[in-house]
């Protein structure tokens, strides 16, 4: 049994048959042009099946006439970008660090590449802003364990610190004065007091005088007579307020007692020479480079 379709008496147009509080909706046809566009897009979409990859098969898919693939597009884009960079990369490979630094065009290119290489490889330990964390040096300041000149930074990145990967890695380490029984706990405490004194923080003067004597005996060889540090041995300067492992007395005592020895991989084994150059330039530009 089919119901007779309802026709609106004013317009003579059939309604959809639904009723809401006495209001019925007219069932006007869509404008013709609108329908044509709909069918045109349907026909157009059939073309896609043949032109582009479309239908999944058992172990593959239809490839399409023009052989397009999004991976292929990415590959082409990367190749094109590489080709665009080729000239600059060749120049970077030949130029010395100093030449790169003084050539505005090369510098801009190296900084951009260095920034992205840093974000991928270095930010995990040194932080996205190169601000560092306890045990991972801040690269923005002018306090450098192994030297802040371009060549020093390049050397450190290339060969790393205290690793097994490279023969040229930075190797020097501090003795664990308490663990190795060079000093007793009291003496460590006194040296720490003197170190705090050096960095112009508060310190017990009697204890620091005793600590000074111990310092001159055990520490000056690396840290210098005024605690100025020595990049050759990776010995940080102690006469400022920058601390890699914390500047509280307990933290300094722990450092003297047990030693510290941060490790960095030899990036020369992982990255290519030009990328290492870019990284050195970038890190140097962060503001602390000397």
């Amino acid at each position: 049994m089919t119901e007779q379709p309802h026709v609106d008496e004013f317009t003579g147009v059939q309604t959809t048959g639904h009723e809401w509080d006495g209001i019925r909706e007219l069932d006007n046809p869509l404008p013709r042009w609108w329908q044509w566009i709909l069918w045109a897009t349907v026909v157009w979409s059939v073309g896609y099946w043949f032109v582009y990859p479309a239908w999944p098969l058992i172990s593959s898919h239809t490839k399409g006439f023009i052989g397009y693939s999004s991976r292929g597009e990415l590959r082409d884009d990367v190749a094109a970008a590489k080709a665009r960079q080729a000239g600059h990369l060749a120049k970077l490979a030949k130029a010395s660090l100093e030449q790169i630094r003084t050539d505005p065009e090369l510098l801009e290119f190296a900084l951009a590449g260095g920034r992205s290489a840093y974000n991928v490889n270095c930010s995990q330990c040194h932080g996205s802003g190169a601000q560092g964390f306890a045990g991972y040096p801040n690269l923005n300041d002018d306090e450098w364990l192994w030297g802040g000149r371009l060549e020093d930074i390049h050397q450190t990145i290339m060969h790393g610190v205290r690793n097994e990967d490279s023969e040229d890695a930075r190797v020097f380490a501090m003795p664990a004065f308490l663990k190795d029984e060079i000093l007793d706990a009291n003496q460590v405490e006194e040296v720490a007091t003197y170190v705090l004194h050096l960095s112009k923080q508060q310190g017990d003067s009697a204890a620091s005088a005793r600590g000074k004597a111990l310092f001159l005996e055990h520490c000056v060889a690396c840290h210098g007579d005024r605690g100025q540090g020595n990049a050759e041995f990776g010995a940080p300067s102690l006469n400022n307020d920058i601390w890699l492992y914390g500047g509280e007395k307990a933290e300094i005592v722990a450092t003297i007692a047990n030693s510290r020895g941060g490790v960095m991989p030899a990036w020369g084994r992982i990255l290519d020479a030009v990328t290492i150059k870019k990284l050195a330039i970038y890190v140097h530009s962060l503001g602390g480079g000397s």
Partner: protein
């Protein structure tokens, strides 16, 4: 139902021809106007230079950073449209809208080739013949020519017109130019040739929202039913007693490009092109009755007229005055900022990671990305200083010739944006709080041109 508007003559038709001439003239001629800006700068008066990221309008030159001028212009256009709508209804739709102007042009071509309404209806119904095909082919060809010309004029706004014209004709122009022309030619051809009134009725949002700007005093095209009814055919010599002026000749319907009968009252479709007024006035003159049976009138005005008050349309109303005031306000602000537009600007973005860096000598350093916008077409020497930070030292990264000093000098090239990384350090004991307000001041040597930017300097606090 295909609509075949009949040709009319009269005041409004003449006005529409003049407006068509004016608007199309502006559209086609503007890109060819030359304007000398000196060497190295384009000499086109109106140019949207996308690769160079500049907008030229006669003596005005806008950088991407100043796109708010464009926003202001659009706001003025919108409020201006509101104003006109509250005064005279859909005057924009009836006279100046590109859809109306181009449709009018297309109908004029159609009429010229295929004849007036009756001839066109007959031709539509006629079986396919050689003459019908040739008629249609000629019409489509002219339409296509206009369409390509429309798209062609558009692209001239985005490149040097004479150069591009030669490139286009010798097939050396970019694919972008050709595809822009093709797309606009297609839309012009289909919107002006075939979709016509359907664009206004179904596609355009403006008819749906324009009612919000109108009130009972807004003038629209109105059929004066009190005068026209009872309508009926009229034979010469008959008396006009006890009948209306409308002779039911249907000329107003025949003339309507929207295919409606204005005598049914206000309708969504009506674009107030006023062609029915011209059509009706011609008939009224012929039968010897007064003009304006169909006329521009407002609901309020009609009510007053019926009660014997002959005051015409009320133009000064709170609504119109408000729109006018808002329009003037936005325009005034635009004009003020334009007159006081600086040709030197700086932008400073503070490093947020790290917030600050402690240096070995105890001082605190902040990093900034520093941009100088030199909008003048000459090289300038500028000096940078900082206010509100005692003992500040400035260093520009990567610039050997800009040494660390209290006030570094910069040489900036003409019409260029320069970006620098700037390191500012200050002794720790001058920092009273963990965040200090500072001001970067950039001043030109030997002139009084200055630009400044307020920022902050962060430290560890006391």
């Amino acid at each position: 139902m295909k609509i075949h508007p009949k040709r009319v003559q009269g005041t409004y038709r003449a006005l529409k021809w003049w407006i068509m001439l004016g608007t199309l003239g502006i559209y086609y001629v503007t890109p060819w106007i030359r304007w000398d800006r000196g060497p190295g700068a384009p000499d086109q008066a109106v140019l949207v230079d996308i690769p160079g990221s500049r907008l030229y309008f006669f003596f005005i030159e806008i950088w991407p950073q100043e796109i708010y001028y464009l926003a202001g212009l659009l706001i003025m256009a919108a409020i201006g449209l509101f104003f006109v709508t509250s005064l005279v209804g859909r005057a924009w739709c009836g006279y100046a809208c590109p859809q109306t102007v181009w449709t009018d042009l297309f109908i004029a071509v159609e009429r010229w080739i295929e004849g007036d309404r009756g001839a066109r209806i007959r031709l539509d119904k006629a079986p396919v013949s050689a003459s019908k095909i040739s008629n249609r082919a000629l019409k489509f060809a002219i339409w296509l020519l206009i369409s390509v010309g429309t798209g062609g004029a558009w692209v001239f706004y985005f490149a040097d017109a004479p150069t591009l014209a030669v490139d286009l004709l010798t097939f050396r122009a970019s694919v972008t130019a050709y595809s822009a022309i093709a797309i606009l030619a297609f839309t012009t051809f289909s919107l002006g040739g075939f979709m016509r009134e359907q664009v206004c009725t179904y596609m355009c949002p403006w008819p749906r929202i324009q009612a919000a700007m109108m009130d009972e005093e807004s003038a629209t095209v109105t059929y004066r039913a009190d005068r026209g009814e009872t309508r009926g055919p009229y034979r010469k010599g008959e008396s006009w007693e006890s009948r209306g002026d409308c002779v039911d000749c249907n000329q107003c319907v025949a003339a309507c490009p929207m295919g409606i009968d204005i005598r049914d009252g206000q309708q969504l479709e009506c674009i107030t092109c006023a062609l029915c007024i011209d059509a009706c006035d011609a008939v009224m003159a012929k039968v010897g009755r007064p003009q304006n049976l169909i006329a521009y009138a407002s609901i309020g005005g009609e009510t007053r007229r019926l009660s014997g008050d002959i005051s015409s349309i009320k133009m000064f109303r709170w609504r119109t005055l408000f729109y006018l005031a808002a329009w003037c306000l936005v325009g005034g602000i635009m004009l003020y900022t334009l007159i006081n537009r600086a040709d030197l600007d700086i932008n400073v973005l503070r490093d947020r990671n790290p917030l600050f860096v402690a240096l070995s000598d105890g001082s605190i350093r902040n990093g900034y990305t520093f941009k100088i916008l030199n909008k003048a077409r000459e090289q300038r020497t500028l000096v940078l200083s900082i206010e509100g930070l005692a003992g500040a030292r400035l260093k520009v990264v990567g610039s050997e010739d800009i040494a660390e000093s209290v006030t570094p000098y910069f040489t900036v090239k003409p019409d260029r944006l320069h970006s620098f990384r700037l390191l500012v350090s200050a002794p720790r004991d001058v920092l009273a709080t963990d965040s200090q307000n500072i001001r970067f001041v950039l001043s030109e040597i030997n002139t009084r041109v200055r630009a400044h930017y307020d920022s902050i300097f962060r430290g560890p606090g006391q």
